[in-house]
Amino acid sequence: MRSLGYIYLALQSIRAHMLRSVLAVTGIVIGIAAVLIVVAVAEGARAEISRQINSLGSNLLLVQPGAQNAQGVRQQAGTVLSLTTTDALALAREVPDVVIAAPFVGGQKTVIARDLNWSTLVAGVTPEFFEARGWRIAEGQLFNQDQVASVAKIAVIGRTIARELFRGGDPLGRFIRIDRTSYVVVGVLAEKGQDFTGRDQDDVIFIPLSSARIFATGRSQANPDAVHTILVKTDSAQSMTTVGGAIADVLRQRHRIMGHKDDDFRIQNLIQIAQTRDRTYRQFTLLVSALAGISLLVGGIGVMNIMLVSVSERFNEIGIRLAFGARPQDIRRQFLLEAVLLCTIGGLLGLIVGYACARVVPSALGWPIEFNEGMALIAIACSSLVGTIFGLLPAERAARLDPAVILRSV
């Protein structure tokens, strides 16, 4: 009943100076909205990253050829084709914790289906590749070992390809021309979205490794058995580092690399890369949130300023209240509550503004956003806290007022 009375008083005095109150809380509104938008976008991005980590498939190592060393200048990775299909087979056979070692060749190609063309990654793989990535087929079927062995002219395509080349029509059984060869589409993969580098994982065409060899690495290559990547799946996350060492040993031995000579391959841990990215992102988010938080601080100072003005303007009111029995703590409570309420209203407005902006802007830019009740509660709690902190000084000043002013000022 009494606290209701104080809330009523506070609301009344906020309403009595509407314009001033609105201006005072603008900083809070902007601060809360800014923090909210940043957090919503950051959370959206992080949710996206963790989805990507999941879509990478677990326990994966990427073995790629090393860089060519041309007179001391190291070239891009993969400039030498040091890895072969037999290396992949050897890894699967000789390293105990390796479950799958899937060879991969690929290259950017312009492909044609009837009157439409599209530039995309064409990858030559064996069925193990899909197993290692944990990718599922959505329509049709994957190709099998026999089809790889018989150099079948068949393709499994990603969702983006189905959309771009077939415009929503059923791609199964239709033809895609890659260079001068036509491939019949036998399957469409389930949608996977972007990977952690932002590449569209659905923008890809898979054909049997044997078929891809013709154009991917070229017949004239010194090493016709070469592959661009070997994707290794280990049987547990714990074994990944030791497996990496074992893989290196096997490959060095096979490639006859002795002593301190550099490896002609490199081993990457996909999950690790994604996690590093996630960590970096988290730190960046924290930094931007802190910057947004500063505007909240500035907003709080604005509220304090207005509250101080309000207190000195209301010396008479405070004097009257003291004369009729208000204790200093009653006055303190009244002004503190007013500041808290002012900031909480600002927080609510900021929540609405932030939510609206987070809904409209990032989706227009194509950024994923994540918004939940917890964030709304934290926003309100933050603004109340700002109100408490910045209301303390004005409230204290009000509470310290000498009641005798009421007669002196007459």
């Binding site: 009729f324 208000a326 007669l407």
Partner: protein, 239 residues
């Protein structure tokens, strides 16, 4: 019988920078229950200071103050708030109503700050407004009331907690003669009901309504006399 108010050798100095002004010097007086006291004197003679010391709004520089025989000056700030709430009712020259509250809410202000809970504070505030004849204007804002009406609301606010002493600082100073008379007759009515009234005034006619007049000059009591038209109650004076 103990006096309601007993001041002994009260001094009050106001400091303005390095200078100090003697607002009250060596004031000793008693006020008994049921008295109607007028404090008169020129501006700056210390009338308002005296009122604020008696009303526990201000602290004397030295001296002692007993209310109902209890030493007031040793009490805590919190207790002072309670004394202001329950023992005193203030009426000011410029009414000092809270502009954003209705007449009824203004009257309810001292009830809002009561430490104990009243069962029906609204009825109580309404009754106080009825006593000053403003029962029909409860929901009016101060700005919608005339000066006289505002002062009546202020009187209702001063008496709503049934104080021992009504302290009025120039209560009719801002009013014309006819509204002044209304206020004065309300005060007289309240006094007949047993309320002790002390008012500060410039107006000789207002002072004439009191049964006792205390004259102040330069912070000292220069005159303390029962006026001819006093009714009953004894007047205790040391002069």
């Amino acid at each position: 019988m103990t006096s309601l108010v007993a001041l002994e050798h009260i001094h009050k100095q106001h400091r303005f920078g390095s200078q100090s002004v003697h607002a009250l010097s060596d004031v000793t007086m008693q006020i008994d229950r049921g008295e109607f006291v007028a404090v008169v004197g020129p501006s700056g003679s210390g009338k308002s200071t005296l009122l604020s010391i008696i009303g526990c709004l201000d602290r004397p520089s030295s001296g002692s103050y007993f209310l109902h025989g209890q030493d007031v000056l040793v009490q805590s700030r919190r207790r002072w708030s309670e004394l202001r709430n329950r023992r005193f009712g203030f009426v000011f020259q410029n009414f000092n109503l809270l502009p954003r509250l209705t007449a009824l809410e203004n009257v309810g202000l001292p009830l809002f700050y009561r430490r104990d809970r009243l069962r029906n504070p609204i009825a109580r505030a309404r009754a106080a407004l009825d006593r000053v004849g403003l029962g029909s204007r409860m929901q009016h804002m101060p700005s919608q009331l005339s000066g006289g009406e505002q002062q009546r609301v202020a009187v209702a606010r001063a008496i709503v907690n049934e104080p021992d002493l009504l302290l009025a600082d120039e209560p009719t100073g801002a009013l014309d003669t006819s509204t002044r008379d209304t206020i004065l007759s309300i005060l007289a009515e309240l006094r007949r009901g047993g309320l002790t009234v002390m008012l500060v005034t410039h107006d000789a006619e207002v002072a004439g309504r009191a049964q006792r007049t205390i004259g102040l000059r330069d912070g000292a009591v220069v005159d303390d006399s029962k006026t001819s038209c006093t009714s009953s109650t004894s007047t205790v004076s040391e002069f």
